[in-house]
């Protein structure tokens, strides 16, 4: 391993990670400085609903594709969502495994599984890009950040697939590219839409609690056999 690759795997990542953490902390502090709206109304709806049940249901929503019409009727998009986010998690994990636990990657089966997971995420990234460019509805709501973040992640997946075996015998360029992309990713993320997961727990908490107060969450699925 060259010194440059060692620097890229360690120091560069650590600095980028610290930077990302700092910006995240600032963003969270900024967000929490907005006072939360209060609810004075008495609870409506049946006894099966409550603010607590509401926000738990709301948080669990991500794992219940049947709960929302938008995910129930667009199953392929939900599958893409799952694959994409599995790929993100795996590729992030890889950036820790390579420098700190490279021995794990001597297991060929594990390498293959990781490559498949990240490879599928790469394909989803390509599919998502095509959808964003070709669908007039998607184009109308897309900002430069939407395109750039998607391209960045998709490219990152590609190099993550190549980096999984952690083999520099044929050259280090793929590992270097993966780690430099990871570092750029860590620095860029707090400024982009990719940081949505930072707000997700809050938005779903407040929306779920409110819907729980109003007797809407958890949604009662009764006699809805014909629902689209």
């Amino acid at each position: 391993m060259s010194d440059f690759l060692h620097f890229s795997e360690h120091t560069l990542q650590e600095v980028a990670l610290v930077f990302m953490t700092c910006v995240y902390v600032i963003r969270i502090v900024w967000f929490l400085r907005f006072a939360a709206g209060k609810e004075r109304q008495g609870q409506t709806g049946s006894g099966a609903t409550s603010p607590t049940k509401g926000f738990i249901y709301s948080w669990a929503n991500v794992a219940m594709p049947w709960a929302m019409e938008s995910t129930r009727t667009k199953r392929s998009l939900y599958v893409q969502f799952v694959l994409f986010h599995l790929g993100v998690t795996t590729a992030i994990g890889l950036s820790f495994v390579i420098p700190y636990a490279p021995g794990l990657l001597e297991n060929r089966v594990l390498v293959l599984v990781l490559q498949i997971v990240i490879g599928l995420a790469f394909l989803v990234g390509v599919r998502r890009f095509i959808r964003r460019v070709s669908d007039p509805y998607m184009r109308a709501i897309s900002s430069p950040d939407d395109y750039f973040s998607l391209v960045l992640l998709t490219a990152w997946f590609l190099f993550a697939v190549l980096a999984v075996p952690n083999n520099s015998a044929g050259g280090e360029w793929h590992l270097l590219t993966y780690f430099w992309l990871t570092a750029f990713f860590l620095v860029y993320v707090p400024f982009s839409k990719i940081s949505h997961y930072l707000y997700y727990p809050f938005t779903r908490y407040y929306f779920g609690r409110s819907m729980g107060y109003r007797g809407v969450y958890p949604i009662r699925r009764v006699h809805k056999a014909k629902t689209s």
Binding site: W30, G45, Y137, A140, Y199
Partner: protein
């Protein structure tokens, strides 16, 4: 030399909107503004999108971005540092505010369907309501919103119903009830103190649909309820919900809550109205910062409770036509009331058919969010009703029931526009129809006088079928009818025959009906003549109601059932009789 900045050239109103946006932000709103990932999953959840294929400007995320970009430019530092990257833009001119108005009021009914379909929990409906509030605060809003808000501020109810008219309607309904039940103890008590129930209504009931008041009174009477209606502060609707004006919302709510407290009422029962129930029961305590010390319930819950407690008996065979149910957005998606109306429906009719999708996934009637008062958007609203029309048609029902007055009007327009063979009614009407009341035995009348006997009426309508129908019904009930196919003919007949009443269709060929109306009103020989408007275009109401010094004596919406026509005409004529 001072460098010019964007702030220097921004219009005053745009600057106020930018500043007030900052004051409106709370954590929930900010969350909804920063969390959208533009995944597009909300797109197909909007009835505007589904009825306007190929037009992405109706997509919820697109609409939300119109205010989101301003937020990002001014309040989110990523947008301040990298505006080009995250699509942040400021707003500079009044024209841009007008464009924002077109989106916030004209392309969204705040139905909340997209909010429930957003994986991120972005509540676009709340963001849109906030946007409306910002625009209203600088006077940029549809004319109808301004008119209705003004009425609610100044007169205390959103349809400008005067106290004397309201009380007269209650008296009239009380008389009708006593006649129907042949029971002088059947009353509509006003301002009775310390009652178990204070009943509040939508002003639409007093103005256009008094039958619902009579039906509710019949049910309260049959249940032996200790109830009353306030003479003031009786409007449970709240235009603050639609206009985004929390101040109006709070003031209206306090007026109602204070009145219930003054009367010492134990429980406030809110008549069947989606936005009224949501406003009063859920939002108002927040807007008014008021901890409500009494119970509140929807009349749907009240009626169901009466049945369960055995206080009223129903004969469901009296409602045998196939019936479907339309969930109001406000009740289903913002108050969780989906099962109670169904439970009651199954007790009150023999053939209930579910509509799909339903409950919190139902589509908007198109009349929500105050859309019925924004006549400039009517063509767009009716076009967006395509998906609703398909839903209704698929049920095969002849009657669509809804627990919301906006939905009644919205659905009636959709049914008329898409030529569906259906009528709209409310649960209170079905329950009153099915109510089993044992009347005391009495000897049959030898001969009853027809209700319109001796009345002379000029009926004007340019549609021959409609003219014949109206004339036939009125003649069957004893009136002498003169038919006119144009406004000028109606004017000529009125001057010649000196009738008690002229009914005018609002859209007839020839001279504008507003002009005919003015000529009838200003003719000294026709003093005391009553004028009733009958039209299939409710958006034209404003032409007469808001612009004439003396409004018409009555207003009826087409299509009209025989009962509604007779009731409306009798009301206009009986008021004239009382005045005489």
């Amino acid at each position: 030399m001072k460098k010019s900045t964007a702030e220097d050239s921004r219009s005053h109103k745009a600057q106020v909107v930018v500043d007030r946006l900052g004051e409106k932000l709370n954590r929930q709103i900010v969350g909804s503004l920063v969390a959208c990932v533009h995944c597009g999953l909300c797109t197909d959840s909007c009835h505007y999108v589904l009825s306007n294929p190929g037009d992405p400007t109706y997509a919820p995320a697109y609409k939300a971005d119109r205010i989101r970009k301003i937020f990002k430019r001014h309040y989110d530092w990523t947008g301040r540092v990298f505006p080009w990257l995250v699509g942040a833009e400021t707003i500079m001119t009044d024209e841009e505010l007008e464009e924002l108005k077109d989106i916030a009021f004209g392309k969204c009914t705040n139905c909340r369907r997209c909010s429930l379909n957003c994986p991120m929990g972005v509540d676009f409906a709340t963001v849109n309501r906030m946007t409306r509030g910002l625009l209203v605060s600088v006077g940029i809003m549809p004319e109808g919103v301004a008119t209705v808000s003004k009425d609610q501020w100044e007169i205390g109810n959103q349809m400008g119903v005067l106290k004397e008219d309201y009380l007269e309607t209650l008296e009239w309904m009380e008389e009708e009830l006593q006649d129907e039940l042949d029971d002088p103890s059947a009353r509509i008590p006003v301002d009775k103190r310390d009652c178990a129930v204070v009943y509040s209504i939508n002003p639409r009931e007093a103005k256009y649909d008094p039958r619902t008041i009579g039906d509710a009174a019949k049910i309260f009477h049959a249940a032996g309820e200790d109830w009353t209606m306030p003479s003031d502060g009786w409007d449970m609707t709240n235009f603050g919900l639609f206009s985004g004006d929390d101040e109006l919302g709070g003031a209206v709510a306090r007026h109602l809550f204070d009145r219930v407290q003054e009367l010492g009422g134990k429980k406030l029962v809110i008549s069947e109205c989606g936005h009224g129930y949501r406003s009063t029961r859920c939002e108002a305590p927040n807007w008014a910062k008021y901890d409500v010390p009494f119970e509140m319930e929807s009349s749907v819950e009240t009626m169901l409770r009466y049945v369960k407690e055995g206080r009223i008996k129903l004969d469901k065979t009296r409602n045998s036509e196939p019936v479907t149910f339309h969930d109001s957005c406000n009740l289903a998606r913002s108050c969780g009331m989906t099962e109670e109306p169904r439970e009651l429906l199954n007790l009150v009719c023999t053939d209930f058919r579910e509509m799909y999708p339903n409950r919190e996934e139902n589509y908007c009637c198109t009349g929500g969010g105050g859309a019925m008062s924004m006549s400039e958007y009517t063509p767009r609203r009716l076009k967006s009703g395509k998906i609703k029309a398909e839903q209704l048609k698929a049920t095969g029902a002849k009657v669509v029931v809804t627990s919301c007055h906006n939905c009644v009007d919205g659905l009636t327009d959709v049914i008329r526009h898409y030529e569906l063979d259906m009528k709209v009614t409310q649960l209170v009407n079905l329950v009153a129809e099915a109510l089993v009341i044992e009347k005391p035995a009495r000897a049959p009348a030898v001969a009853e006088e027809l209700p319109l006997a001796g009345r002379r009426i000029v009926v004007a309508d340019d549609e021959p079928d409609q003219l014949l129908y109206l004339a036939t019904v009125m003649e069957d009930y004893g009136a002498t009818v003169y038919q006119a196919a144009t406004g000028d003919e109606a004017l000529e007949l009125a001057r010649k025959e000196k009738p008690d009443l002229v009914t005018l269709d609002l859209s007839m060929p020839g001279r504008p009906v507003t002009e005919i109306f003015e000529l009838l009103r200003s003719d000294s020989e026709l003093e005391g003549l009553k004028i009733c408007l009958i039209t299939g275009r409710p958006e034209m109401r404003e032409l007469i109601y808001q612009r004439m010094e003396i409004p018409p004596d009555g207003y009826l919406d087409k299509p009209l059932s025989e009962d509604d026509l007779l009731r409306g005409v009798r009301k206009v004529l009986e008021l004239s009789h009382q005045e005489g």
